[in-house]
Each structure stands twice: as C-alpha cells, then as structure tokens.
C-alpha cells in the first residue's frame, strides 16, 4: 500500500475523481497553472485543461455562488477557498444559500458542491492565515463538514464528499499537508461521512479530537502511557456535521472519562457540542467532569513564535490534561 502525505492524498483523490466523472470541475484562486498555493492541483491544467481547472478572480463570494449555480445545473464542482481566513466573504453563498437549497426547494433542487478549505494554525500564519472556521459551518443544517487528519481518511472522505449530492465543507489542516504521512490505498474506497473513527484503543479515558490535534493527541497518549501507564482511547471525529454521537458515547461508556481537544477557541465550539452530547446522554457513565483543552480566548493567532506556540495546544499540554482527568 502506498504511503503519501496528506496533500498528496488530496491531489490523487481529486485527480482520480476528475478522471472518473467529467461533470467534476475545479474552481478557485491560483489553482490553474500555479497548481494552487498548496499544489493540490499541481499538473491538473495539463491533464484536464483550463475549463475544468478554472482560475477564478480574487472574489470568494462568487467562487461559491458560481459553483453553486453550476451544481444545481448538473455539474459537480469542487471549489477551493485558498485560505480558510478568506472564506468570510463567501459565507452568505455557503450558509445562506447552498445549505438551504434542498430544504428551501422541497428537494426539487440540490447542490452536489464540495468546498475545500485549507485551515488551521501552527504555521506562522498570524491572524489571517491560521484561522479555524469550522464552527459556523458545523452549526448549519444542510451542510456537511469534514475534517480529516490522515491521508487515508482524506482520500476516503474527499471521495465521499465529491460524490455526495449535498454541499460539503472539506477542511484540510495546512500543517498536516506535508507533516503527516500515512498509508492510503490506491483503489476507489470511500469512508462514510458522519462516522468517527477510533485511532487508539484505551481503557482509562476517552479523548475526542479532529484535524492536526489528532496527531498531538496521539503523541500525548504515548507520553502518558509511558510515564503513568494511562491508556487513552482516541476518537477522531473526522466529520463535524453530523457529529457521530454514538461512537463518542460508546467510548465514554467504557472509559468513564472524556477529554476534548481542539485547536479552535473553546467558547461555543465543536467541543461545546461534544460536551453537551456527553452531558445529556452519557452523564451516568461519567466518573469525572468533562474536560477540554482549547486555546485562550484571543483572536487566533499571534504571528510571533513564542506567542503562537503558547496559543496552540501541544502534546505536553494535552498529556497534562489527561493526567489531571484520570486523577479525579
């Protein structure tokens, strides 16, 4: 089985899907001859031509609005927002429009639209190249929000996203693009949207996370296993809407302890929702209060290196939290 980086997994999936289905086309800033700023579409113009790998003007609202119009008229567009921080001008077309197309037309129209959004920090991106933007989308009925952490999941879930007949916001953590390598089969497999995955089995605590934080959490779990003999089970959400409550609750019922780790700020966030699910439906299985590791409540995130490092959750901070949780 081939091993690849996460960006290679994204690129190979886009390539194979584009070959499979002529209705798929890509649209975004600099995705043409430049291949995208992260090279997700490197070499695509040569293979598919500029009509299917369309450079767009620097105008995010119309990238989504035009992709949406094409989607309801028989195409299967994959739009790229260059950095998550630039998605805000497109919010109306995504949250206000695309998410409501099926419901608002009583199913007569639907939008097979995938919006790829590189996001996340720890890349010296400062306030405008580091943001985590998942909450607004995860809050929106009618959208599906996917945040894979491994090449395997990126391939299987991007394939599912492109083939879905409803809009998907597909979040790719920038720091995982080249940092994370892993196996990803070449055959046309899919991973299901809305299913979490247990990335590490354990008996003492359940750690729920997604994206880059999965990798920091896996490191933290090894640290506490070696230092304290604590065995942490790690649930990788993979999909943020709909959230897989069943897998979370099942794991918590076995460990009795829950720690949620996210890079996004904590107030009114994915971790808030997971906490609420556990409180409402897993309360009687808990041996300790639900705990969270989230950054401070300041605009994510400072450009200067010491402050950026302090902002981000780290394997050490997560390991400390696991120890505190299991001491209760």
């Amino acid at each position: 089985m081939p091993e690849m980086t996460l960006i290679e997994a994204v690129r190979e999936t886009l390539r194979t899907e584009m070959r499979r289905d002529p209705d798929i086309f890509m649209m975004g800033e600099d995705i043409g001859p430049r291949g995208g700023v992260f090279l997700a579409s490197e070499g695509f113009v040569e293979e598919f031509g500029e009509d299917r790998v369309m450079n767009s003007p620097l105008a995010e609202s119309s990238i989504i609005g035009i992709a949406l119009g094409a989607a309801v008229n028989g195409m299967r567009p994959v739009a790229e927002i260059q950095f998550a921080d630039f998605v805000w001008p497109a919010i109306n077309q995504l949250v206000g429009e695309a998410a409501r197309v099926r419901y608002g037309t009583n199913g007569r129209k639907f939008a097979p639209l995938t919006v790829r959004v590189p996001y996340g920090g720890g890349v010296r991106g400062g306030l405008y190249h580091s943001q985590s933007i998942e909450v607004l989308f995860a809050h929106t009925p009618g959208l599906q929000v996917i945040a894979p952490a491994t090449p395997w999941d990126a391939r299987g879930l991007l394939r599912s996203a492109i083939r879905s007949n409803d809009p998907v916001v597909f979040l790719e953590h920038k720091r995982t693009y080249r940092l994370v390598r892993g196996e990803a089969p070449d055959h046309e497999y899919t991973e299901p949207i809305g299913k979490a995955d247990i990335k590490r089995a354990g008996t003492d605590a359940t750690l729920i996370t997604y994206g880059l934080m999965l990798h920091y959490s896996l490191q933290a779990a090894e640290i506490v296993a070696q230092s304290d003999g604590i065995e942490t089970e790690i649930v990788d959400l993979r999909t943020l809407r709909p959230i897989d409550a069943e897998t979370i609750l099942d794991s918590v019922s076995r460990t009795g302890r829950a720690l949620i780790v996210q890079e996004d700020t904590g107030a009114v966030s994915v971790s808030s929702e997971v906490s609420a699910i556990i409180a409402a439906e897993g309360f009687f299985n808990l041996d300790a209060p639900v705990m969270r590791v989230t950054p401070p409540e300041i605009p994510p995130m400072p450009f200067s290196p010491l402050q950026e490092a302090e902002f981000m959750p780290s394997p050490e901070k997560i390991a400390d939290a696991i120890r505190r949780l299991t001491e209760i």
Binding site: F25, D51, S56, P57, A59, S61, S62, I64, G65, I66, A67, L68, G69, A70, A71, V72, N73, G74, M75, P77, P89, N92, Q93, G96, E97, R100, V101, R102, Y103, G104, T105, N106, G107, R108, K109, F110, P141, G142, Q144, S164, N165, D166, R241, P242, I243, A245, I277
Partner: protein
C-alpha cells in the same frame, strides 16, 4: 446605451420586431390584467390577515411579460426575485398556485410553503429563487450558465434583479465573471428607483445601472420598461446574443413601483406627493392598453372580456386556495440532506 422608442402615432401600423405578433401582445396584455387583479387580491388578503407578506409587481408588468416573451421556457433558466408575480404567471403558473404561496398552503409548488412567496423551484419550468437576500442569484445565474456552456447546451439564463441588488458585491462579481467567460446570461434589472426607501441617487453616483456594463466588457442597454415593444426588442437582442455564443448583456428596464416595497411598508414616509402622482402616469397597464387600442390590436369589448376573466379567475383561485389546509407539522423535518432526515438532535 440607447433609449428605444417604439410608440407611433394614432392609427398607424405598429412596427413589430421579429418574433412578436399581435396575438402574442394580446396574450401578454391578458396576463398583465390577470397579474394586476391577482396582485390587488393578494394585498387585500394581507390586510385581512390571511397573507403574511407580499411584494407587489404592480408597475413591473410590462418588463416581465416582455422578458418572458423574448425567452424560451422549454430550455431557458429564470432566476427570479420576489417581485416577479407577472413573470411567473406568464410562465404558466396558475393563480391558485400563486395564492397558495401567499397563503402558505399544503402542496405549495415552489417550496412546500417553507419559504416566502416566490421562493423555491418551479415544477414545470426551470425557474427558481433560493433566497431572500438580494443579489445572491446573480453569481448563481452565472454558474448555471457556466454549466450550460460546459455541457454545450443551447440555453440562456435570465437573472432578474432590482436596482437595490445592483449595489451588492455579488452583482459586480457575477457580471465580471460572465464577461470574462462570455457566458450566456441576461442580467435583467428592473430598476424602479427605490431600494425599499433609498432613492437611486443615494444608491449610485451614475445615472444608469446599464452604464456599468462597459466595465465588464458586455453590452448594456437602458430601456423604458413600460414600453412593451421596446422592452421585448432589447431583451430579445440580449437573448439572441447569449444563445449564439456571444456572451452576456445587461438590460436595464426602467419601471415604477406603484405600491410600497411590501405590505409592511408605507412609501408616503419617503416619497413626495409629486413623485407618487408622477409615477401613476407610468402605470404600464393603461399605457399598454392604450398602445394596443391605438393600433387596432385590442378593442373595448375584448379588454372588458379580459378584465372580467381575470376577476373571475382570481375569485376562483381565492376560493380554491383558501379551502386548502396548511402543511402538516411532520412535513417540516424532511429533506435537509439527501441521506438523512432533519430533526435529529445531533444532525
């Protein structure tokens, strides 16, 4: 940009452009009569507490019948906005189907009464409006046209919008992209000079919206939207241009909004008495009636017959739609996504 006059002196033969016949004009006028009667009824139903909200099409009738006549409903796309009652009737929507939208009745055709009137998607022609947020339909229309171009379909997309929407960034982005890729779109602006209460001179520093077309490398034309022949001619030229692969056009039809923005508005708060008096002279219904009569296309008896027919059709539609129930509560949970039902606490 040119104002195209089509009027002629009494008794003379009306010069009809290609595709426009006396029969089609008469049919369009009949639909205008129906639209006006229905529009008045909807306003009454609002005042009776039965229709929650309405935006009137009064004053826009000619612009809408002319536009529909210049297109081909069997293959073209219509991205409408909320003031498009006449266009919907012209495209074959029945008065009962229209009233079911305003009365939010079970079986409502566009959105199952989930949305405001004139929002959703039509079952018989490709007419839709996803949103109440003005201007969002413009990039969407460009995307629809892009898909047609990619699939080599012979279809034209008409994106209706008002002068208010012309201030949105989406309007600029849409026209820019359509210009770059020479897409088969007609940007159809019904300029009634008011964005709710904000007059044109507070919306833009230029005299016309059509004058912006040059910035997008597309033709722009400003036409008297009470002139049915001139409006048809301008839209037809734009549709032909789009269909022959020569790209988009911005057509600005100057109309008057004869009633306040919606049933919740009162335009005497911001329109002067002189302005209100003047606009009544620009009511497209008597203007068209007079035009057709002057040229022997319409006689008094037929006119009377049309108005009686419209009145009866509206009465019948009112009875039929009021007899229908509201949608069941259970129906609100379905169809959020293809694979799932809504209403799941975690979904």
């Amino acid at each position: 940009m040119a104002k195209i006059p089509s009027d002629a002196t009494e008794g003379s033969h009306l010069n009809l452009p290609d595709g426009l016949t006396a029969e089609r004009l008469l049919d369009a006028y009949k639909t205008m009569c129906l639209s006006r009667a229905l529009d008045i009824r909807i306003w009454t139903l609002n005042r009776q507490g039965k229709a929650a909200i309405a935006a009137s099409a009064q004053g826009h009738e000619v612009a809408q019948v002319a536009t529909v006549m210049a297109t081909d409903p069997t293959r073209d796309h219509y991205l409408i906005y909320y003031r498009q009652l006449t266009a919907m009737l012209m495209l074959g929507t029945t008065p009962t189907e229209m009233l079911m939208q305003f009365l939010a009745r079970d079986g409502e055709i566009l959105s199952a009464a989930r949305q405001f009137p004139l929002h959703g998607a039509h079952p018989r022609v490709d007419l839709f409006s996803f949103s109440n947020v003005v201007g969002t339909q413009l990039p969407q229309a460009v995307g629809v046209a892009l898909a047609d171009k990619m699939k080599n379909r012979d279809a034209v997309t008409v994106s209706f919008f008002g002068d208010g929407a012309a201030s949105q960034g989406d309007c600029h982005e849409a026209m820019n992209f359509a210009g770059i890729h020479e897409l088969p779109v007609v940007f159809l602006c019904e300029n009634n000079r008011y964005a709710i209460s904000v007059p044109l001179h507070q919306q833009m520093p230029v005299e016309s919206i059509a004058s912006r077309a040059s910035a997008y490398g597309i033709p722009g034309v400003e036409v008297d939207g009470t002139d049915i022949v001139a409006s048809y001619e301008a839209v037809k030229e734009a549709v032909d241009r789009a269909r022959s692969g020569n790209g988009a056009t911005l057509v600005e039809l100057r109309v008057e909004r004869l009633l306040p923005h919606t049933t919740d508005d009162d335009h005497t708060r911001y329109r002067s008495q002189e302005d209100i008096e003047r606009m009544r002279d620009l009511d497209p219904l008597p203007i068209t009636e007079s035009l057709l009569k002057r040229h022997g296309i319409l006689d008094d008896a037929t006119d009377e017959e049309f108005k009686e027919w419209a009145s009866q059709a509206v009465d019948d539609a009112t009875d039929a739609s009021e007899a229908l129930p509201f949608p069941q509560i259970a129906d609100m949970y379905t169809g959020v996504l293809e694979e799932t039902m809504g209403g799941n606490s975690h979904a």
